[in-house]
């Protein structure tokens, strides 16, 4: 699992052809697989880029067993 870096995340977004409502679920999945969790900064950035409210993304993330919002020791 890679340590979270904003740059690595930005590259992930670029490789996926940008962040849109359509690929939001896949993108969150890629972030989870890469860093082992979905950091707050990512949720904020994706909310700004896709127009989906931060609370909605957070609400969705926490309802899936395989998504984590904090790095677990």
């Amino acid at each position: 699992m890679a340590k979270f870096k904003m740059q690595t995340y930005q590259n992930l977004v670029k490789d996926s052809g940008g962040a849109t409502k359509e690929n939001l679920f896949c993108l969150l999945g890629k972030v989870q697989d890469k860093f082992g969790y979905v950091p707050k900064e990512v949720v904020r950035d994706l909310a700004a880029k896709t127009g989906v409210a931060e609370a909605r993304i957070y609400g969705a993330l926490t309802s899936y067993g395989h998504f984590k919002v904090k790095l677990e020791a």
Partner: protein
């Protein structure tokens, strides 16, 4: 009783990514034929073959396709096709065999289905636990693009389609079609009321068809050999074969492909499954996954068709046959099931959200020997309310094993009831 390998015939015969080997085994003929005959004729052929969904509900596939194809995108808006590979039902593991063993056939089916309904974007939603399968499909999608099966102009035709491989992220309910759609939209996986059906308003509000993997694997078989040839398999109102996932207390669990109506439940368990694990008699069987009603020993002579199994009092569902041998209390069995469904209820509607928790509490009370006859009545009532009132298939089905256990094994429950002194 013998297996009839129609869908699983190629499993293990070629390396999963080897397209040439798949072609040599007769692959891609169906797609070529479909592209030559046009979308309407493809749907007509599926209709004549009488294919019904293999994901649990058993809805006629051609009907679903036709209603999505009918919605002419007047606005020029997109349509979507989703292959549901989020196989979450308890005791069901048949789709994995096809996804790993004959992935090209599933892909061929996806392309044909997308072509028939006019979708340019297809998704395959793979259960998160099947990580190796998802990795294989990532590579498969790349290979297919290179070979001209996906992308602009499929096999030199005017039809274009792309495929997104999506990984599920855990929840059981995401296998339900509305919850799956919500999940792809990055929302909480929850079902909703219908209509509108997904074929009218599905993914991102556009017409969407969701089909199970096994359903899709049937499509190339039908188109390659023709509907009449397919009809020769199985019985009149239930043609074809089905993949039965046999598990529980049997000596040889596994996935067995069986021609519809060619044998009985008893034969499946005693011949292919080689009987119960300790040679004890069978106590009960769930023939259609964890949410199907129990069948007692007396009902095991029923034929393996959807009709015969529902006549016996259960349903064929996902064809996940779970066998329980004598020596287990029905109370313990339903306790385990309720624990699972309690954790997985999405919370969308009260009958399921509250009902499953209350039912579990009652069963827990009973197994602590603190229950009363009144509790049994409550258990029945709450279960019946959820069957009648819940929004989605899960809420309508999870009480069925409990209700049938109360019918079939009342003694198991009654012995735990405290006697009033």
């Amino acid at each position: 009783m013998k297996e009839k390998k129609v869908l699983t015939g190629r499993v293990g015969k070629y390396k999963p990514l080897d397209l040439e080997a798949y072609k040599a085994l007769g692959g891609l003929q169906a797609l070529a034929r479909a592209l030559a005959m046009g979308p309407e004729s493809v749907i007509e052929e599926i209709k004549r073959a009488g294919l019904s969904g293999r994901g649990g509900a058993g809805f006629p596939t051609a009907l679903k396709w036709a209603s999505a194809a009918k919605v002419q995108s007047a606005s020029g808006g997109p349509k979507y096709f989703i292959c549901n590979a989020d196989e979450g039902e308890l005791g069901t593991f048949k789709d994995k065999v096809l996804l790993d063993g004959d992935p090209w056939a599933v892909l061929e089916g996806i392309v044909i289905a997308a072509y028939a309904i006019g979708a340019e974007q297809a998704y395959i939603y793979i259960k998160g636990e099947y990580e190796e399968t998802a990795k294989l499909w990532d590579k498969l999608a790349d290979e297919a693009k290179k070979a001209g099966l996906l992308g602009e102009g499929v096999l030199g035709s005017k039809f274009s389609v792309s495929l997104n491989v999506v990984r599920g992220r855990g929840p059981y309910i995401a296998g339900e079609e509305f919850a799956l759609i919500a999940s792809l939209e990055a929302r909480r996986p929850m079902s909703r009321l219908k209509p509108p059906y997904p074929t009218e308003e599905g993914l991102f509000g556009k017409p969407t068809v969701v089909n199970n993997v096994e359903t899709i694997a049937n499509v190339p078989v039908i188109l390659a050999g023709g509907a009449e040839e397919y009809r020769k398999l199985g019985v009149k109102d239930d043609p074809g074969t089905r993949l039965f996932s046999l598990s529980g207390d049997v000596k040889k669990p596994g996935v067995y492909e069986i021609e519809m109506g060619s044998g009985t439940l008893q034969e499946l368990i005693s011949e292919l499954g080689q009987g119960t694990r300790n040679g004890r008699p069978i106590k009960a069987v769930q023939p259609g996954g964890g949410t199907s009603a129990f069948l007692g020993r007396d009902s095991l002579g029923c034929k393996l068709t959807a009709k015969a199994i529902s006549k016996a009092g259960s349903s064929i569902g996902t064809a996940g046959v779970i066998v329980y041998q004598e020596g287990k209390s029905a109370v313990d069995i339903v306790k385990g099931l309720l624990k699972f469904y309690g954790a997985e209820s999405c919370g969308r509607c009260a009958p399921c959200r509250i009902g499953v928790v209350r039912m579990k509490e009652i069963v827990d009370t009973l197994s602590r020997r603190e229950g009363s006859a009144d509790d049994l009545m409550q258990l029945r009532q709450i279960g019946k309310v959820s069957v009648a009132m819940a929004t989605c298939g899960m809420g309508q089905a999870f009480p069925l094993p409990v209700l049938s256990a109360l019918e079939l094994f009342p003694k198991d429950f009654e012995t735990l009831i405290q006697k009033v002194p």
